[in-house]
């Protein structure tokens, strides 16, 4: 997913993983300008990974764990994707051997 392919967005997710953080705290921990941080927060919210709470003029963010899914389905997809690559490699090699005969 695009939302977590970006290292700065992953850093934001790690920051809000254990506790809710204010926009100011997230900006202070980032090495980019506020507009860039704000853009990353928007992408994460749009992907459903981050939820926002407003309190007066302050904004607070936390991770939306349910969007990350249960371990079993994640692992099943990891193995299926990896074994799909293994299948491709082994089949290409077998084909190469057959055509050399």
């Amino acid at each position: 997913m695009e939302a977590i392919a970006n290292p700065r967005r992953r850093k934001i997710l790690k920051l809000v993983w254990t506790a809710e953080r204010s926009a100011g705290e997230i900006a202070a921990a980032s090495d980019v300008t506020w507009p860039a941080v704000s853009q990353n927060l928007r992408v994460l919210r749009a992907s459903g990974l981050l939820s926002e709470r407003r309190d007066g003029t302050h904004r607070y963010y936390r991770v939306e764990r349910r969007a990350l899914g249960p371990l079993e389905s994640i692992l099943r997809q990891m193995w299926a994707a990896d074994l799909g690559r293994l299948k491709q490699l082994a089949e290409d090699e077998a084909k190469g051997r057959r055509s050399r005969r």
Partner: protein
């Protein structure tokens, strides 16, 4: 043997290649990284250890428990620093069955922690597993 089937993952794959070729991708470090991770050091013999750099940040490691080329491989599986699936905590069992020149690969991942155990833990791991979940599936 009594198993808690709720904590078992099973993935099968039919591969149009003989088991000898498929098995080499499971045990040879250079071949292994072509389908999983970005680096791997595998000492594929009973009692030997392996370490896989999955994405430059997370390390999977464990020990080979059974190796029967080219039919069967059993290894312990876990991620270094993971709160509920540390190295040694789960088992991955791969069997290859020859089928008219092709191979039926069956992978079982056993001993995964229950949902209740997992909910007691937090960490940056959701980011990693969330990313895994969104890998393009080539299967």
């Amino acid at each position: 043997m009594i198993e808690d089937l709720s904590s078992v993952i099973e993935v099968t794959q039919r591969i149009e290649a003989p088991p000898e070729i498929v098995f080499s991708y499971l045990t040879d470090s250079a071949r292994f990284t072509q389908w999983m991770g970005i680096g791997a050091a595998l000492d594929a013999r009973p009692g030997g250890r392996y370490r896989i750099d999955v994405d430059g940040e997370h390390i999977a490691s464990g020990e080979y428990r059974e190796i029967d080329p080219p039919h069967r491989l059993v290894m312990s599986w876990g991620w270094e620093g993971h709160p509920t699936v540390p190295p040694g905590s789960t088992t991955v069992e791969i069997t290859l069955t020859s089928e008219e020149g092709a191979t039926l690969l069956r992978l079982r991942h056993l001993g995964l922690p229950s949902e209740a155990e997992r909910q007691q833990h937090t960490g940056g791991w959701g980011v990693y597993t969330g990313r895994l979940r969104n890998l393009p599936s080539l299967a």
